[in-house]
């Protein structure tokens, strides 16, 4: 079943067109990644889904809702979680407060407390830092908190923007493992990644974006061997 559909999206920054008739589908239960170089429009796609930016044309549908005209808070309430680029934790608030901010759109206090416990099991490292200000955490720890924060909203779909950016290889592995764990628990993942080989290693399906157009999409396993991908993203020239 298709959970998220972007249909014929055209986006502009002032006079500059960023997306040209973008079509993307995310099937329930999958990890779908969007690959592309800089300025290809990857992060803008995230903004469109999250309602931070309005497309000039096209529709975004999610789980029976038309997201196109909805504000960001409503979109979050409809069941989308976000792990923004560069984590964007609330640095002056404690880790605990950050996690509870993730459940901002919910009002079931008991269940929230239960979910908080569950997150601490899933991310044991976070437990020790629960009372620390989020700004004092290392990059890897911040990424964990950002993921836990998104999960606290009990989303059907999590949008992740460059989850491995700036992380050490150790943490990159850890984060990728966690993405798979979360996905196995039934959460659909839509992620934007620079690092195509890593992304394709865990994704089910992938789209390749180039200057605002999808030039390629397919099962991740087959794309990993596609010569066009190797040339453009996997250092095929060497």
């Amino acid at each position: 079943m298709t959970l998220l559909t972007l249909r014929k999206i055209d986006t502009f920054y002032g006079p500059v067109q960023v997306h040209f008739g973008l079509d993307i589908e995310v099937r329930q239960g999958q990890i779908v990644c969007l690959l592309g170089g800089n300025a290809s429009g990857k992060s803008t796609t995230m903004k469109i889904i999250l309602g931070l930016l309005r497309p000039r044309a096209g529709t975004v549908r999610f789980d029976g809702h038309d997201l196109t005209a909805m504000t960001t808070p409503k979109i979050i309430r409809a069941g989308i979680g976000s792990v923004p680029e560069a984590r964007r934790l609330f640095g002056a608030m404690t880790v605990r407060e950050n996690l509870l901010m993730g459940a901002f759109a919910r009002s079931d206090r008991v269940e929230i407390a239960h979910d908080l416990d569950r997150m601490l099991e899933l991310f044991p490292r976070v437990r020790q830092r629960l009372a620390s200000r989020a700004g004092t955490l290392s990059g890897g720890e911040q990424q964990m908190v950002a993921m836990a924060r998104a999960l606290m909203g009990r989303p059907k779909l999590i949008c992740m923007d460059e989850p491995t950016m700036g992380l050490s290889p150790l943490f990159v592995d850890r984060v990728l493992e966690l993405i798979q764990t979360v996905n196995r628990d039934g959460v659909t993942i839509f992620m934007v990644e620079q690092n195509a080989s890593l992304a394709l290693a865990i994704a089910h399906y992938a789209y390749v974006l180039q200057t605002g157009r999808i030039i390629l999409h397919g099962e991740a396993a087959s794309l990993a061997h596609d010569p066009r991908i190797r040339d453009a993203y996997l250092g095929g020239k060497t």
């Binding site: 592309g36 170089g37 800089n38 300025a39 004092t136 955490l137 290392s138 990059g139 890897g140 720890e141 460059e162 950016m165 700036g166 992380l167 050490s168 290889p169 150790l170 943490f171 592995d173 850890r174 620079q194 690092n195 195509a196 080989s197 040339d231 453009a232 993203y233 996997l234 250092g235 095929g236 020239k237 060497t238």
Partner: protein, 273 residues
Amino acid sequence: MSVMLECRSVTRRFGGIVAVRPIDLTLHAGEFLSIIGPNGAGKTTLFNLISGHDAPDAGRITLEGVEIAGHAPETIAARGLARTFQHGRVFANMSVRDNLLVGAHHRLRAVKPRLPGLGAVAELALALLRPPGVRAEEAALNREIEAIAAIFGDRLTPRLDQPAYALSYANRRRVEIARALALRPRVLLLDEPTAGMNESETLEMQHIIGDLKAGGQTILLIEHKLDLVMRLSDRVIAMDDGAKIAEGKPDAVRQDPAVIEAYLGHRAMGEAL
């Protein structure tokens, strides 16, 4: 080989947290030294201490034998140390050309007399009067920065007169490196120059940095992309939790158990095996 940059027992604390534990570092002329380590290990803080954007609580830092610890960044830059920044700090409202010319600022001679006290007044007067010497210097610098832009192929040259905010992220990173080169640095500090670049762009950057090294440039690099580090570095330092945990040839550091434990993890170990 002469020692270009040396750190001895450099320490930095923020409140109760020790960001950099007493650390030693030596960089020789023409050498390529990389620092790896997890986020929060203190790599960028160490860079800030060396470039003068932060002052160490203890320890000595010398550049070509001259003590620079705690000196202002502009003084250290004038001694020939250039750096780039982790997240990129281009002058967004200025053209690429002006960004690069600012990089050459400390080398201005004709227009920037070093008279004590009255230097600023003389500089203002020369800027307004623009005598031939000043004009010639400006023209020479313009030619020079065009040559530097050309290092990046056709990435920057056609965009010299565009404002930096109109550039793509990767191009902004290139502008930053070009701007640092315009300083004609004795020592170049690069802080994650390929962050946010995809694999082919990373490769392109690797060639450019490799060419710089081949040209004899002394380079200190912070980088997560191990391929690039392993290919280019003469030596590698691994840091964790503010301290140096390993130092040596790239392969030796890569196989160091402490580094694998703290940083590389089992995947890298698996590859190494």
